[in-house]
Structures are given as C-alpha cells and as structure tokens.
C-alpha cells in the first residue's frame, strides 16, 4: 500500500512540474534547450541521472549477480570517458552550438559541416531508428515494474506512466525534463545511501569481498570476463575508449548544446556532478555481486537482485522510495531521449516551416505534435512486442549510434571534416555495422569498434578527397 501511495503522489507531482513550466515555453529554443540558460549544476544533475539510467539500478547489479566483477569493470571504465568528454569537449560543443544557433544534435552536425538536407535526413532517420528502441524498452520497463505496484496489468500501467511522462515533457520541454531528473537524482542518492549502509552493516567492502571470495572466488577474480568474452584488462581498456565516443550520443550531446555556459569553470562543475553520480554505480554492482552472500536463496532472475535486497533489508517506505528511484531512472532515459530525438526529427520539417511562414508559436506546436507521434509509436510497439528483443535492439541502437557518429562529432573538434566527409562517415559505418549485426559477425564490442574505426577513417579520408576535388569546401 505504501509504495502504491508514494508512486501515485510522485506521478501527480510530475504533472505539477509540467504545468508550472508550461508558461515559460514560447519558442523552439525554450522548448528544446530551455533557451540555453540552464546552469551547469542543474543540468549536471539531470545529465547524471540520464547517464546512469535504469541499467545502473537493475541491469548492472543483475549482471554483477550473474557474472561477477566484469560489469563493474565496464562501468568503472565508463567514468573516465564521462569526465574527459564533459570537461574537455562539452564546453566546446556548447560554444559552437551557440555560434551556430543549434537546438538539436542533427542541427549541430549539419551546420558545423555546412551540410544540407541530405545530412539532416540521414542523421534524423538514424537517430529515430536508434532511439525508438530506447523508448520502447523504457515503456516496457515501466509496465513490468509498475503494474504490480499500482495494482494494474502491464498495458494500462505502461500507458498511465507513459502518459504522465509525455504530459510534463509536452508542457514544460527541457526545463520540466531537467527538474524531474533533478528530483530523480535525489532518489538515486537514497538508493546509494542504502547500498552503502548495506555494505557497511555487513563487514564493509573488505568483509563482503572476503565473504564473496569464500563463496565463489571467480566472482571477483574471473578467469575471463564473461559475458564480454575477453580478459579483464582488455574490458577495462575497451570500455574506456568506447565510452569516450559513447558520450557523443545525441541525447547526451543535447545536454552539451543546452549548457548555460561554455566556460571551463562551468564544465568542471558539470563534470563533478556527472562523474560523482557515475561513481555510485560500481557500488550498486558490488551490492549485486554481494547478493550471493546476503540473500538466503539463489535468485532465478538476476535482474531482481536489487529489488529483492531492498525488500529484504529495508522497510516498505524505503522500498517505495527505491521503486520511485527505478521509475525516475527509466523516466530520465525516456524523457531526455524523447526530447532530443524530437528535436532531431523536427529538423526534417524545418524547411517546411520556413516555406509556409510558420510563426514561432506554430513551430512549437508542430514540435509538440512530433513528440506526441513518436510517443504513440513507442507505446504501440511496447504493448505488442516481446521484451527480450527490445533489450537486444537497445544495445544495438545505442552502441551502433555512438560508433557511427564518432567521426562527425568528437573528431570534428580534433580536425574539422567536410559535409560529404560527415555524410559518408555516417552512411558507410551504418552499412558496415548493419552487416556485422545481421550476419552475426564478431561480438557486440568488436562490432562497435569496427564501426567506430570506419566512421573516423571515412570521415577524414572523404573530407580529404572533397577538399582535393573542391578546395572551397
């Protein structure tokens, strides 16, 4: 009963945030990037929750329970990637975005390369294809998690939770998304506090590690890094490299574009908060591994380790707050990605707005309609598709997306390419990645690295050729 009441109150509070921020949204700039006025600290909290997401609460501890320490290596390898991009690249992205007047990832890449409509179409379509799976996976998570708490079956729970998210996102735009994420950060801190308390009350890190080693030494010192099928050292290094480029995903890029300041000082604060939050995740994973020695019986579903630990060791009110934390984590992945994807898809129609002399208010209305359509597609797909397929597609979508756009995003700041360099890099690496995935060649990390290498190589080679052929470019 207590978790249900807390959930309902939270959903009402979210709607309230949307209503409050509705008045401040007058243009596309307000809607998508909050007028580029959000402070690095506030945006940092939102970015932090978007970075960690539901995987850090449920999936990562579950993977820790199933495979042991390799998941910890993958996440801890991610933290330097977050820090490097947030401190070194983010202020440069923001400064360039302000110069170009970009309100979306698509707009940024296109305008930075003096590209045309072909580049807009390519990036927008790929972003939509990669992110629609995120929306579906998030909605599925909401339906599965909150149906039992709210006393509803899967589809009504999915629709109710999804409706609340779309309502406040439609009303308040990025400002509402960010504020709800900041609230979510608070819940994440509660989950972190409980995890630290659980560790401390069971002998500390050293004590628990000793008990885990006594139970099964391979959990903390595995001979190979399952499920990644590589040595532990190569997992660390691979994830460090890959996560630098992973930070160029469109919904993360959207945060850099929206930063209210392009100063290094602001970037340092933004980095501090982002990195501080990602540092919590290894603790969640360690708690997941500790599930073997903390819980009386083995779990059939590894992903249930965190909820079961919270249910076993805390009272219903704390478990209710944990459930809200999970909801918030799903929500932050969903609302931020939805807004960033809508901004990208909206770029497809921008020439039409200009052609038919649409006013800023009309453009804003079209943007909201696009967001509603994307949401409706995701709800339909989520309520009619098998869950396991979605998780696989989510990995393919995000890893693939981050790798194929590597050339025209982060590499742009090392040496600028040309518009056909950017276009060829994305198109050719998408084709290569699709072939690898469809034919089942290599593991998913290797597939990503091949696409990453192709994207960077083609970006520079095609740009060099274009400059030779047409020196003016």
């Amino acid at each position: 009963m207590i978790p249900k009441v807390i959930c309902i109150l939270y959903l009402i509070a979210l709607l309230g945030i949307g209503v409050i921020y509705r008045r401040g949204v007058k243009t596309r700039l307000d809607y998508y990037i909050a007028g580029r006025k959000l402070t690095p600290v506030i945006l940092g909290f939102s970015f932090a929750t978007a970075l960690t997401g539901v995987w850090s609460y449920i999936g990562a501890p579950g993977s820790g329970y199933a495979y042991g320490v390799p998941e910890l290596a993958s996440f801890a390898g991610w933290i330097p990637g977050v820090a490097i991009v947030a401190y070194i690249w983010a202020p440069r992205v923001r400064a360039k975005a302000a110069e170009l007047q970009s309100v979306s990832f698509t707009g940024f890449v296109r305008d930075a390369h003096n590209g045309g409509y072909s580049l807009t179409v390519l990036i927008s379509v790929i972003t939509f294809a990669a992110y629609v799976m995120t929306f579906v996976a998030a909605l599925k998570g909401l339906g599965l998690m909150f149906g039992p708490i709210l006393g509803l079956s899967y589809v009504p729970a999915l629709i109710i939770c999804g409706a609340v998210i779309i309502a406040y996102s439609l009303m308040g735009g990025l400002r509402a998304v960010v504020l709800t994420d900041v609230v979510g950060f608070g819940f994440m801190c509660i989950a972190f506090g409980v995890s630290v308390w659980l560790i401390a009350s069971h002998g500390g890190i050293g004590g628990l590690a000793a008990r885990i080693n006594a139970f099964n030494p391979e959990l903390l010192h595995p001979p190979t890094g399952a499920p990644y099928g590589a040595t532990m050292a190569s997992i660390w290094i691979c994830f460090l490299v890959m996560y630098v480029f992973y930070q160029a995903l469109p919904h993360y890029w959207h945060y850099y574009i929206s930063l209210g300041s392009s100063t290094r000082k602001g970037a340092a604060l933004f980095t501090l908060i982002a990195v501080g939050s990602t540092c919590m995740v290894p603790f969640f994973i360690f708690i997941g591994i500790s599930g073997h020695v903390l819980l009386p019986a083995p779990l059939a579903d590894p992903d249930s380790v965190m909820p079961v630990l919270f249910q076993t060791f805390t009272n219903p009110a704390v478990y209710g707050l944990f459930s809200i934390g999970v909801f918030t984590a799903i929500m932050t992945t969903f609302d931020g990605s939805l807004l960033a994807t809508t901004a990208c898809v909206d770029e497809l129609f921008f020439p039409l707005y200009k052609k038919y002399n649409q006013t800023p208010a009309q453009m804003l209305r079209w943007g909201r309609i696009i967001m509603l359509v994307l949401w409706a597609v995701a709800v339909y797909w989520a309520s009619t598709s098998p869950p396991a397929l979605m998780v696989r597609l989510l990995v393919i979508g995000w890893v693939g997306m981050s790798c194929v756009i590597a050339g025209p995003t982060l590499c742009y700041f090392i040496k600028k390419g040309t518009k056909w360099g950017a276009f060829s890099a994305i198109l050719i690496s998408v084709i290569v990645y699709a072939v690898l995935v469809v034919r089942g060649l290599l593991g998913w990390i290797e597939q990503g690295f091949v696409a990453l290498g192709v994207s960077i190589a083609v970006y520079y080679i095609a740009s060099a050729i274009e400059r030779k052929v047409s020196p003016a470019s």
Binding site: R264, A267, T271, G276
Partner: protein
C-alpha cells in the same frame, strides 16, 4: 602552460590511473573511485576558475591601457 590545460591533463591522468587501479584489483575502484574523481574534478574546477580570473584581469588591463 595554461591552467585549463593542466586541469585537462589532471582529468586524463586520473582517468588512466583509475583504469590501471581497476586492472590490478577491481574492488580497489570502490575505495578510490569517489575520492579520486571528486579530487580530480575539484582541482580542475579551481584551476579553471584561476584561469578565468587571470583572463578577466588581463582583459581589464588591456581595456584600461586602451583608455589611457
């Protein structure tokens, strides 16, 4: 060397160091991750702030010189 550059080096150096620590023993990450990253980003923050102040001072000095 500019202070912002030093701050970037601090971030990258600690990033590489944290990965090496993790390769040696992943459990050590739980001890070193939080304090290490908080220290590295705070150092970056103070260096960036100092650089900004110096730039502002230099800019004000240039403007003052132009007026004179």
């Amino acid at each position: 060397m500019k202070k912002g550059t030093i701050a970037s080096i601090v971030i990258i150096a600690w990033g590489i160091a944290s990965v090496i620590i993790g390769i040696i023993d992943p459990v050590l990450v739980l001890y070193t991750g939080f304090p290490g990253w908080i220290a590295a980003t705070l150092i970056a923050y103070f260096l960036s702030r100092q650089e900004e102040k110096e730039e502002a001072r230099a800019e004000a000095g240039e403007k003052g010189g132009a007026v004179k």
